[in-house]
Symmetry: C2
């Protein structure tokens, strides 16, 4: 399972300064899909609670919110330059031609997931549900523009 570091790879990580070893596009794509899967895995029960499909449990909600808050800052490096193709992906090429806007939308996810985690720790159900809408809004804003149907 341990990912092999490919020092001879050609991908350029066009991100903030980082010591991450250069990786192949298919590895970056696998990584971003993994990050999104983990976000979605945790978003699901939160959404179900807010919609009343399962009982609202603020402790469980907070657990999932914290996980998204720790995963969200890891998403950006899954969109390194050069990873627009190389494996199956739902990412539109517009991401890399509008990278500042894309990065701004990811920053919204980071900020709102952090806020959701904090509000959930507060334990006020009404506030949690209100904040959750903002979190969902950051997902939608980015998917509407940059994710293929």
């Amino acid at each position: 399972m341990i990912r092999r570091i490919t020092l001879s790879a050609t991908l350029t990580l066009g991100l903030a300064a980082t010591a991450i070893a250069q990786t192949k596009p298919d590895q970056v794509i696998e990584y971003r899909r993994a990050a999104m899967t983990m976000v979605g895995w945790n978003f699901g029960p939160m959404s179900a609670m807010v919609k009343g499909k399962i009982p609202f449990d603020v402790k469980e909600f907070a657990k999932h919110a914290e996980r998204i808050a720790t995963t969200a800052p890891q998403v950006l490096e899954g969109f390194a330059k050069g990873s627009d193709k190389g494996a199956e992906t739902d990412a539109k090429a517009d991401i890399w031609t509008h990278f500042d806007d894309f990065q701004s939308k990811l920053t919204d996810l980071v900020n709102e997931s952090k806020a959701t985690s904090e509000v959930a720790r507060g334990g006020d159900e009404a506030k949690v549900k209100e904040q959750f809408k903002k979190l969902g809004g950051t997902c939608k804003a980015c998917h509407d523009k940059y994710k293929q149907d």
Copy 2:
């Protein structure tokens, strides 16, 4: 990307009390593979630093270590009962016939990843490299027994 909650699914989550909605085996498998991908993504640069393949940067090392420490506690629910099949997986069926041992090995990962994150924050390169061996040991112990080649 948002995972659909399948309330009518048949999978039994044989884990500690949790409000996670029941999910289909293929979703659980996708989730555990995602968690492992994220662990591996972060383990890679740490390993490369320890082996001298890339420059040792304790701040970067600590970042990756913290990520593994926050992801490791999320791995167990990716091995819910009933998820031995349903999609491509490297997980051996022995996991579910020796679940206490498997869970113990995952707990070792949780503990050693947490220790690695703490040691890395301390900044002592020699100690970090020593602790990293223990972390790698927890990966190997579980993979040797429960992961298909």
